[in-house]
Symmetry: C2
DNA sequence: ACCTGAACACCGTTCAAGT
DNA sequence: ACCTGAACACCGTTCAAGT
């Protein structure tokens, strides 16, 4: 009977919050306060609801993070690619790095084995395709992709945590742990480190992703 | 007066638990149940005490993890090193990888900017020394070290989390997320991935750290 | 169908008191 | 000097009930 009324109103209580609304709110919290502040309780407050209402739209906290990840992946810019296959590997990897470096917390979700989420398969596809165009066998192309991914993931994770630690340390004590270690180095025990000690900190804040990537890619396609 | 009694008994209540005992217990918990089980409450139970008693011997949870890290660093084997500087870089990096791969949870402590803890500076020293012996400038030696560290850290973090996710997924659903993604790949949209899809899983469980490291080091010392 | 409140089983850490 | 117990301010999630 009720199906006959012109307006198609689904049965049951009308929703007060939507999944999109939840993801948008999560987005906001993460951007303004960091992932560690993204709790179900905090998120519920943000959308003006209760923690348990969220579970009706999202499987659990992990599911929420996965939705966020998809959201970022869809938005990530796909650069124009150069014709030369080796340069193409570098261009795609760099684009991937840049997209992820802006949201380093995502590495925790990303590296937990769920890969990229489908919408970011573009990056995988382009790197493998370019590696094959470099003359690598399918097997070596996968190996090359993995090496590049390990380097890229490591670079993002290490540098973002270093930055966070540095900021914290400076705010608290005025010096970083590393500065203290290098400042009190015994040159007899660690002669090589002593030689580079005074430049270490300065070189550590530089972004040398590109140079390392070039070296790695050069080495990987060497024998092709 | 009491100072005069032969036995030098320090004043105050005699300790029931020691720092070493705490670290040993933490060690045990981490080895048997994983880091995520290492809570102050669980640890207190393990040493037969209360959570708050621990704070008398350890600054806080982070301090505890740092003690654990030092413990592992001291124990890590230092391999004999080959004379050839390039091979030396590879030998040290591999030893570092092997030591860390056994305890991947340590990466969380390690990458949070406190470096290695002093007792593991040996690894830094040897890599920088070998890089200098390869003919790199001090500046390039630091850059090379950092690239190697990023690759190594990424390899450990990514592969250990992949393994954990794979085990979890197989236990729960019988297939991994990756198997499902690659099983339903559209060959028109992702031709290169489609070409390698059937070998991806197999290649992903292989340990290709050494090959990637060689490629990276080759690229880094190329122009020297 | 969607939302709520109370409750469970946890955390790390502080504080005041006991021996 | 060392330890304890109670308490604070949190978590994610389950369960039973309400609209």
């Amino acid at each position: 009977m009720s199906r006959m009324t012109g307006q198609k109103r689904p049965p049951g209580r009308p929703p007060r919050i939507s999944r999109d609304e939840i993801v948008a709110a999560a987005h906001r919290i993460v951007a303004e306060e960091g992932v560690e502040k993204l709790t179900m309780r905090r998120l519920a407050r943000e959308v003006g609801s209760t923690p348990m209402a969220l579970y009706h739209h999202v499987s659990d906290r992990d599911g929420l993070l996965l939705l966020l990840l998809e959201d970022y992946a869809v938005r990530a810019p796909r650069p124009d690619l150069p014709a030369d296959p080796r340069e193409r590997v570098i261009a795609v990897a760099t684009a991937m790095r840049d997209a992820l470096a802006e949201i380093p917390w995502i590495m925790d979700v990303l590296t937990s084995g769920r890969l990229f989420g489908r919408s970011a398969l573009w990056f995988n596809e382009q790197i493998i395709a370019a590696a094959l165009d470099c003359g690598l066998t399918p097997e070596d192309a996968v190996r090359a992709y993995r090496a590049i991914w390990h380097y890229t993931a490591g670079q993002i994770i290490v540098t973002s945590r270093e930055r966070a630690a540095r900021d914290r340390a400076r705010a608290a004590t005025g010096t970083t742990y590393r500065e203290r270690v290098f400042g009190t180095l015994d040159p007899d025990e660690h002669p090589a480190l002593a030689r580079v000690a005074d430049r270490w900190e300065e070189l550590s804040v530089r972004d040398d992703y590109a140079a390392g990537l070039r070296a790695l890619v050069d080495g990987l396609v060497r024998r092709a």
